[in-house]
């Protein structure tokens, strides 16, 4: 099986062997990275098609981590700067420390070529605003698992309005108990049921 397929099939040991061999043969690490990107795109597609689930995303993330380790840290930066489908700012809102849903969204946006800045969990409104000003994304993704997240999301969006930042931005929300009804309640633009929805929403909004 070739290198790309070995990654897609999550054959961890074979991937590591092949990376080692390719480096020993003095191959350009950037070429290896091209293959890795193709593999990650395929893994993302398989996730969208419900062929792959969380165990596969987590394993592929683990394989990716090992490849980066072998190639050296510089390549990770090169990998990030090449993202050209647009910027998305992401975070779990204040009061809530759940991260699984947000991390899956991040993985999928990443695999689909978006430049993602993830602010982590329990992110206060002001931190979102600060980073919006600096990072200048077109899309903001707010995640929350607890019902308390509804009001945290509402607060962020109200603060964005007062700061005059709301109109230039598309906002998607998602997570645990969030559903379509919460879009109006908090003043967002759309609700995403899954990470695939997040990719579709971001893709649509970036094209406008």
């Amino acid at each position: 099986m070739d290198f790309i397929n070995e990654i897609v099939e999550l054959n961890e040991n074979n991937v590591n062997e092949l990376v080692k061999k390719r480096l020993e043969n003095n191959e350009d690490p950037l070429k290896i990275m091209d293959d890795v990107k193709k593999a990650m795109k395929t893994i993302g597609d398989k996730f969208s098609n419900k062929e792959y689930f969380l165990p596969e995303l987590i394993m592929s993330g683990e394989i990716l981590r090992q490849i980066f380790e072998a190639l050296g840290p510089k390549l990770k930066d090169a990998h990030n700067s090449e993202k050209n489908k647009g910027k998305v700012l992401l975070g779990t809102v204040a009061g809530d420390i759940h991260d699984i849903g947000k991390d899956v969204v991040k993985f999928m946006l990443d695999a689909n070529g978006f430049h993602v800045l993830d602010l982590g969990v329990d992110v206060p409104a002001d931190k979102f605003i600060e980073n919006l000003k600096e990072f200048k994304p077109k899309v903001l993704g707010l995640s929350g698992f607890l019902t308390l997240a509804y009001d945290s999301m509402k607060e962020i969006i109200e603060k964005l309005k007062s700061a005059g930042l709301r109109d230039s931005l598309k906002i998607m929300i998602g997570g645990g108990t969030v559903d379509e009804r919460i879009v109006d309640y908090v003043g967002a633009d759309a609700y995403g049921e899954s990470a695939v929805d997040a990719v579709n929403l971001a893709t649509k909004w970036m094209e406008v």
Binding site: E12, L54, M59, E62, G95, L146, D179, I182
Partner: protein, 432 residues
């Protein structure tokens, strides 16, 4: 009206529904998230964690406003003091003495998920699961219980001479100090515990049966994921250590069942004026977390064993299918068919009317008024949702009305909860 009669009527209504008989009306049996009664009474989350007696009063006042058929058990009032005493490190909560684990006064507690053991430790865990949990996991998750890492083999007491080692453990100064501290913590919790007891008593006096929902359990896969390996670790184990993962899930079943026999909470042995539905909140089995193949291989078998063991003990397992389980319905239907009227399936985001069509002849369904409606309303939309659910699920009994997540969410508004309650009385009548 005679409150004792009301009490009996209500319990019977729930029993009928669970046994798939039509009662006089569809029962409404809400569970409630811990902080709902506290917030309704103007208490902060922190106060709810530390003021057990006050919390119990708030619960009586809040819940008794509603005409329900089964009322929530009080879960964990005063847990803040216990956590402080244990030096809990696997949870963050408002008011924690250790700032590292302290959340804001108005935040609910939340668990910290991380690998508490490495994959390399599977061998050790499998050789003696109880010993491993006592000596490795308990000290890791409770800073005050560090000494448990040298806890002697208790079964040695059955052997010649070896009971002496056990004796020496307890005469050590540090262990004595530990026990003293623990006693002090327990004393500080007495108010809360008394509050809990008087809650159940007072509620019953008012004709309000309290659910024996303290019969908590978990799917073995979730125990491994939540408290041993973390979700990341567990899911990597599905690739790297699949046999070890399956073995430990299987081996956790029996200890869980034994714990139910020995629990001071008397699981599965409710008095005639209550009904115990054993709450099993499921975490990683939902759609999207894993494929059906993985569910069948890793998640479902040990959960089936656990539920079958409970049924043998006359405990009614009530798995809470949080998230969506549409892809898993075939598995659920098969279990229901094999154990007719022996379980309650509580759903969050699965279409319960579809579930009713598929397996309504075999299992009682519970749910699923969305949290977004109970918080955001309006009451008319709540009424509409309950009406539709009742119409789709009431036939032949076997339906309990409750919220979708945690029953009544913390931030639910009174008018929406009232609308949910009123709708059941308005649309749920089978016969006068």
């Amino acid at each position: 009206m005679d409150t004792e009669l009301i009490l009996k009527e209500r319990v019977q209504r729930v029993r009928d529904a669970v046994s798939l008989k039509e009662p006089d009306r569809v029962p409404i049996t809400p569970f409630s998230d811990i902080f709902f009664p506290a917030l309704q009474a103007g208490m902060t989350h922190k106060q709810a964690m530390y003021k057990g007696r006050k919390y119990a009063k708030a619960a009586i006042n809040t819940y008794s406003r509603y005409d329900w058929d089964l009322y929530p058990t009080l879960l964990f009032p005063g847990m803040g003091k216990l956590n402080d005493g244990l030096g809990a490190t696997a949870i963050k909560w408002p008011g924690a003495a250790n700032p590292e684990f302290c959340l804001g006064d108005n935040q609910p507690y939340q668990y910290i998920e991380k690998p508490w053991m490495e994959a390399e430790e599977y061998d050790e865990l499998l050789k003696d699961p109880t010993g491993f949990l006592i000596r490795k996991i308990i000290p890791a998750q409770n800073a005050s219980l560090k000494l448990m890492n040298s806890f002697p083999q208790i079964s040695d007491m059955a052997m010649m001479f070896n009971g002496i080692g056990f004796f020496f453990f307890f005469i050590s100064k540090d262990v004595k100090k530990l026990i003293k501290g623990y006693k002090k913590t327990l004393r500080s919790m007495i108010g809360g515990l008394m509050g809990m007891q008087s809650y159940a008593k007072k509620m019953k006096k008012m004709g309000n049966p309290v659910a024996g929902q303290f019969a908590l359990s978990q799917a073995p896969f979730d125990m491994v994921s939540d408290t041993l390996r973390g979700m990341r670790g567990t899911m990597m184990d599905m690739y790297r250590n699949p046999e070890e993962l399956k073995t430990i899930c299987d081996r956790l079943v029996e200890p869980c069942l034994i714990a139910m026999d020995n629990s001071p909470l008397k699981l599965g042995d409710p008095d005639e004026n209550s009904i115990t539905l054993s709450f099993i909140p499921l975490h990683r089995g939902a759609d999207g977390f894993m494929s059906n193949g993985q569910f069948e291989e890793f998640y479902w078998p040990s959960l089936v064993k656990l539920m079958e063991g409970m049924i043998k003990k006359d405990i009614i397992p009530m798995p809470f299918f949080e998230g969506r389980y549409t892809d898993r319905l075939e598995f659920l239907a098969e279990f229901a068919k094999q154990h007719k009227a022996k379980a309650v399936y509580w759903f969050h985001d699965t279409d319960i009317i579809k579930v009713k069509e598929m397996m309504g002849d075999h299992v009682c369904i519970r749910g699923n008024v969305p949290a977004s409606l109970l918080v955001g309303g309006p009451p008319s939309a709540v009424e509409e949702y309950v009406k539709k659910s009742i119409e789709g699920c009431m036939e032949g009994g076997g339906y309990l009305v409750d919220g979708g997540v945690s029953g009544i969410p913390n931030e639910a508004r009174h008018e929406n909860v009232q609308a949910m309650t009123d709708a059941v009385h308005k649309y749920g009548v089978y016969r006068k």
